[in-house]
């Protein structure tokens, strides 16, 4: 569904992302993980059109979207959420979701109906008439996803939806993401936490210091010494092996 080949980005003297290539197969959940500062968010922003890559290509179902603006990319069916949630603070939860629904529905009644359905499906049913600013952190994360889902994307880009949540909330949101995937939406998520990803993803890419260092199933990734070193520091894999 999504093919990213060799995208790079430099900020001043810093090479934030170096020739990252990845493929997101249709119908599955693909994860991009890596320690803080690995370039995940920059990669994500390039895919969604918020930052222009210096080099490389991004294709969505064969269509070149590399230089498209974010709104065009969203219209093409690839929609992102934000790690730091960005609610429309002055609007109610339902109105927030409806902004997404309006991408596919010109009529207010139809958009409202669609937004209500998405809100209920994602567990926001009780809060639809509350102001978005009144939601808890977990509620805001759900709202981010609900708004994006209301645009009826083919591919959903989730930016650290689990960050800042407690274990119970993470458990619920994992179920929610599976449910979205089962509804036929392909998902690319970036995450800092490995465990949550292991339970969800079919495919994992690992980014460290701006470059991809590993790619495989969650199981293979978890045992990969390069990944362990990237997360825990040089020599960590050997020390862990010695303890085992």
């Amino acid at each position: 569904m999504l093919e990213v080949s060799g995208i790079s980005k430099r900020f001043g003297g810093l090479q934030a992302v170096r020739e990252v290539s990845l493929t997101v197969p249709a119908g599955g959940i693909t994860a991009l993980i890596g320690p803080n500062g690995a370039g995940k968010t920059t990669t994500f922003a390039m895919i969604a059109g918020f930052i222009r890559p210096d080099a490389g290509r991004i294709r969505l179902s064969g269509q070149d979207v590399t230089r498209l603006r974010p709104d065009r990319i969203a219209a093409a069916g690839m929609v992102r959420t934000f790690q730091i949630t960005q609610p429309f603070a002055g609007l109610s939860v339902l109105e927030n979701i409806r902004v997404g629904a309006f991408l596919r529905h010109a009529e207010t009644a139809a958009a409202t109906e669609a937004a209500r359905a998405v809100g209920q499906r994602l567990g926001l049913g009780a809060f639809l008439d509350r102001p978005a600013s009144a939601l808890t952190v977990a509620g805001r994360k759900r709202l981010e996803v609900a708004r994006a889902l209301a645009t009826q994307p083919r591919l959903l880009l989730l930016d650290e939806v689990m960050a800042g949540l407690n274990p119970t909330e993470i458990h619920e949101i994992v179920a929610m993401i599976r449910d979205i995937r089962d509804g036929g939406v392909t998902i690319l998520l970036i995450e800092h936490i490995m465990q949550a990803v292991a339970a969800l993803a079919d495919n994992v890419y690992v980014l460290a210091e701006g470059a991809l260092i590993a790619h495989g199933t969650p199981k293979a990734i978890a045992d990969d010494p390069r990944v362990i070193e990237a997360y825990l520091g040089r020599g960590a894999a050997a020390r862990l092996a010695a303890h085992a």
């Binding site: 974010p70 709104d71 429309f88 603070a89 902004v99 958009a111 708004r147 994006a148 645009t151």
Partner: protein, 309 residues
């Protein structure tokens, strides 16, 4: 509650037709014109968050369109209404497209509109086409066919129609997709773009809509006072008044500008009886604006909304 309010509003709007005092009708007319212009500003500045400091550009465009069409080309002044609507929208679209493409927002957009208004003022002040600083006198020719009314109640009626038109536009924004996308951009541009909203096109359309409507007010002004000049048309005071009406009443709400205009005109008329020096009433407007920003960021209508909630 709601039908009672609507009945009261209708009664208030129709009341002036029963008045025989032309000066009282005049006050009502000026209030409705202020409410109309504030509502026009509100469409861009309230719903879209496009804080324009130069909205009089559109007002002046309409006023000059009416004056020039009649004095140069001998056209019927009623034709100035559709012409002004189109011209105002075109000017709004041009300024909007240039500004939003360049990524101007917030204070920068406010300043660039101020500068555009100054360009219009200087141009109208120096071109022969607009008769420079002399301004344009529209020849007297009372009569409905000529859009000149001896009875202020007729002018009031036209102003009321304009206000209903602009308020309907605001009410439509509150309900429709375009309005929701505009508000989304106001609240958070990145999130709106991520949901597929075209920033430049949506904001530009809002400024065009607001500009087209505002220009109608300029036509009404020209036909009421039969004179336009550069500072009446493009002076900063009118831009500021439009902004004040909307901000004080409640920007981004449908009824706010009407409330704002009523409050400002009460302040003006009461204070004039007290201290008649020019400048005193506008000074109070400024004080009210500061109080509103500090205490009631949603404007006077916010009090009502909070009470209802």
């Amino acid at each position: 509650m709601k039908p009672v309010l609507i009945a009261a509003a209708v009664l208030l709007a129709l009341g002036p037709f029963a008045l025989t005092s032309q000066s009282l009708v005049n006050i009502a007319m000026l209030t409705v014109v202020s409410a109309f212009l504030g509502q026009c500003w509100n469409i861009a500045g309230g719903f879209g968050g496009l804080t324009s400091f130069g909205h009089t550009i559109f007002f002046g465009t309409g006023a000059y369109a009416a004056a020039i069409m009649q004095t140069r080309w001998g056209l019927n002044p009623w034709l100035a209404l559709p012409a002004a609507l189109v011209l105002g929208a075109v000017v709004g679209a041009a300024i909007g497209a240039a500004s939003f493409r360049a990524g101007l927002r917030g204070s920068y957009f406010a300043l660039v509109t101020l500068a555009f208004a100054e360009v219009f003022r200087v141009l109208s002040n120096s071109l022969d086409f607009t008769r420079g600083g002399l301004g344009i006198n529209i020849p007297l020719g009372m009569g409905a066919a000529n859009f000149q009314f001896a009875d202020r109640r007729a002018t009031y009626a036209v102003a009321l129609v304009l206000l209903v038109l602009a308020t309907s536009a605001a009410a439509w924004l509150k309900r429709a997709r375009f309005g929701a996308q505009l508000v989304a951009l106001r609240e958070n541009e990145d999130a709106a773009a991520a949901l597929g909203i075209d920033l430049v096109r949506t904001k530009t359309a809002a400024l065009a809509l607001s500009g087209g409507l505002t220009a109608l007010g300029g036509v009404l002004y020209a036909q009421t006072y039969l004179y336009v000049d550069p500072s009446i048309s493009f002076g900063v005071e009118r831009s500021v008044e439009m902004l004040l009406v909307a901000m004080i009443g409640g920007a981004g709400s449908v009824w706010g500008p009407i409330l704002g205009a009523i409050v400002l005109h009460i302040i003006a008329d009461v204070s004039r009886a007290w201290i008649a020096t020019p400048g005193f009433a506008p000074m109070l407007y400024g004080v009210v604006l500061l109080v509103i920003i500090g205490v009631l960021p949603r404007g006077i209508i916010g009090v009502w909304e909070r009470w209802r909630a």
